[in-house]
């Protein structure tokens, strides 16, 4: 043991030459590429471009098939309107999928919350703003329950949300008695609940507040995910939970916050859904879960977590919307619409995978 100025002990002798070692960085000449490979490379650098290109392509194709009506600002704004609720759910779903989870209960939470808001305002006479706030609280609570089971009891998200989906659905039926609350009743008692159904005309387009809300939610989530520490933590824990934990992130706390936020976004979606359908309808949106997942994966977010931009699911929802609307305008039979959506899902993700691969 020596004092602070001790002479360093001997290195192994073969290490003595290291001082002279090369410090250049390796560099290699790029190889020749075919056009396809160049395109692949270009897109690889900007993976969010992929869904955008798929979107543009499908708009062009359906425009060609369905005629100029398809391109009208009115029709395009209608598509935006139609995807607004699924888009909001896709935003919530993206958060969960980024953490390498999956939330099968988003649709059920959304409908449950719309029922809660409606019953509070109409049957119990709670002032609408309060009903909305309570609805938000319940949404956060429902998400929090999922998050608790995932983080504390350490159950796989798939199981938790498969179970809670049934639970929320049962609660929905119980609270609503499977009865809708009519549009006219809402107009009288609680017009606030229909707020997001109102629209502003911009040229020929009719943009509902619901559509704007969807865009706003995506914008806020984009900011949170990319420009706050919380967002970086969400990505890190989705990427590799254990590493994230070891590198000093309170992963459980972050994870539970993700589920709560997702629940809250679903609750906002519930409010928006009342505006969209005009009434409080406990039977609507039964397909919403799978549609939201489809939008997320078409949008290029990896089901394994940690990869993908939140802008993707927005585009993904629009692609699904364009497909649905386009197929219907062209007059394709409902049955073959199902068929086409099935292939769309597979092909869109296949293109995405191909882009991400870069060279065989």
């Amino acid at each position: 043991m020596s004092d602070e100025n001790r002479t360093p002990r001997k290195k192994q002798d073969f290490e003595e030459t290291l001082g002279r070692s090369d410090t250049n960085v390796a560099s290699f000449a790029p190889k020749q590429r075919t056009f396809l490979q160049s395109a692949q490379h270009l897109l690889h650098g900007n993976p969010t471009m992929v869904p955008v290109i798929v979107l543009i392509m499908s708009i062009i194709i359906f425009g060609a098939l369905a005629g100029p009506k398809f391109f009208s600002p009115f029709n395009l704004s209608l598509i935006l309107q139609q995807v607004s609720v699924i888009g909001i759910l896709a935003a919530a779903q993206s958060l969960v999928i980024l953490t390498a989870g999956i939330d099968l209960s988003v649709g059920a939470i959304m409908v449950l919350i719309s029922v809660i808001m409606g019953q509070l305002a109409v049957s119990l006479g709670v002032p609408s703003p309060l009903a909305v706030l309570i609805g938000f609280g319940c949404g956060a609570l429902a998400g929090g329950m999922n998050g608790f089971l995932v983080t504390r009891i350490k159950l796989p998200p798939f199981i938790v949300t498969l179970g809670s989906w049934n639970i929320f659905f049962a609660l929905n039926l119980w609270l609503s008695g499977a009865q809708s609350i009519r549009s006219q009743t809402l107009d009288e008692v609680a017009p606030l609940l229909k707020f997001f159904g109102e629209s502003i005309a911009i040229g020929g387009a009719r943009v509902t507040y619901g559509s704007i809300l969807m865009l706003a939610i995506f914008a806020v989530l984009w900011f949170l995910l990319n420009h706050t520490a919380w967002g970086r933590h969400v990505y890190a824990l989705g990427d590799d939970k254990e590493s994230a934990e070891l590198s000093g992130i309170r992963t459980n706390r972050t994870l539970i916050s993700v589920y709560i936020l997702a629940g809250l976004v679903c609750a906002i979606g519930g409010w928006a859904s009342i505006g969209r359908v005009g009434s409080v309808s406990p039977q609507s949106f039964q397909e919403a879960n799978l549609q939201s997942i489809t939008a997320v994966v078409i949008g290029g977010i990896s089901l394994f977590g940690g990869r993908g931009s939140i802008a993707g699911p927005l585009i993904g929802a629009l692609i699904v919307g364009v497909f649905n609307s386009g197929l219907r305008m062209v007059g394709v039979d409902v049955l073959w619409q199902l068929f086409a959506i099935g292939w769309l899902t597979i092909i869109a993700v296949a293109i995405d995978q191909w882009i991400r691969k870069v060279s065989s």
Partner: protein
């Protein structure tokens, strides 16, 4: 003495079946019957109904009331039940063949469709010849109610419906298109929007039920077209009749699920007490619980009742 009975409905998420259940529960209390209720999870959930029938057999019930999801496929298991001495009554939806049940208490769905078809035709008068019709159906798998109401409406409106068992094989130019609504507001709205995009001149809208009609109305309102379009529907639930009153729906065919359930329970009591089976309505091979057209704007030659009477007999 208390006897067991089962009520098996298609789902628990449709107010029609919820009301039917409430009616049956009330009747059972009055008639000292121990009622168990079952339902599929979603529309078309046939397997769950089979399991429900089996559970009823196992529990030794005296009678089964069923609204079948799959009217053909349910027959074998119901035969087992009848073989075990259980009275099987089909509610709302007849089985195929209809005599697979001991009795059928149902709305004539084809007739319900015809009534609104005739009404719409009469309302339009001469303009009916170049009407533009939107058909808002139930699901892609087109269960029998879906077909019967859809085809009944077209028949009533004077369209050549070709195969009575097939939706969408008509080539009448007046039909703008068919779309599915899943029988709820959201589906109704989306389907209406899409059909309007195909042809904005639509002036007659057929809907499978009143929630779908409410959704379609929202879409028309957003297009500022709610004034000039006739919406017709089937069901007669209280919100639906209120919508007729408010002018959302022009006319609706009202059916009586509570009656069906009540009569069904009554029949089971009678069967347990003295072994009598219920009889059919004259001239029909089922007991018609009746259907009435509800509207405040009656059309000549089409029998109807007013909204107030409709309200007094509505079910939800």
């Amino acid at each position: 003495d208390e006897i067991g009975a089962c009520l098996i409905t298609k789902t628990d998420i449709n107010p029609f079946f919820v009301k039917m259940k409430e009616g049956a529960t009330a009747a059972s209390l009055a008639m000292n019957i121990d009622l168990s209720t079952y339902a599929g999870k979603i529309d078309g959930d046939h397997e769950t109904q089979v399991q429900a029938v089996e559970s009823c057999i196992a529990s030794g019930a005296k009678g089964i009331l069923i609204t079948a999801s799959d009217t053909k496929a349910i027959v074998p298991v119901l035969k087992k039940a009848r073989d075990a001495g259980i009275l099987v009554i089909a509610l709302d939806t007849p089985l195929e063949p209809i005599d697979a049940a001991d009795a059928t208490f149902a709305t004539d769905n084809f007739k319900a469709g015809q009534l609104i078809g005739e009404w719409a035709k009469a309302k339009l008068g001469d303009k009916a010849a170049d009407a533009k019709i939107a058909m808002l159906d139930l699901t892609p798998s087109a269960p029998s109610v879906d077909v019967l109401r859809d085809q009944g409406f077209l028949d009533g409106f004077g369209v050549d419906i070709k195969d009575k068992n097939k939706i969408g094989d008509e080539d009448d130019k007046r039909i703008v298109g068919h779309d599915v609504t899943n029988g709820n507001e959201e589906g109704g709205r989306k389907a209406m929007e899409n059909l309007l995009q195909r042809d904005s001149g639509i002036n007659v809208v057929y809907t499978i039920n009143e929630p779908a009609a409410a959704g379609a109305y929202e879409a028309l309102k957003a297009f500022n077209m709610e004034k000039g379009v006739l919406i017709v529907s089937v069901d007669g639930g209280c919100p639906g009749v209120l919508n007729v009153k408010d002018g959302v729906i022009g006319a609706t065919s009202q059916q009586y699920p509570v009656d069906m359930a009540y009569k069904g329970i009554e029949a089971i009591r009678a069967w347990a007490d003295n072994g009598t089976k219920p009889e059919n309505t004259k001239g029909l091979n089922f007991y018609d619980t009746g259907v009435n057209l509800v509207t405040d704007s009656p059309a000549e030659g089409v029998p109807s009742i007013g909204v107030d009477e409709g309200m007094s007999r509505c079910w939800g």
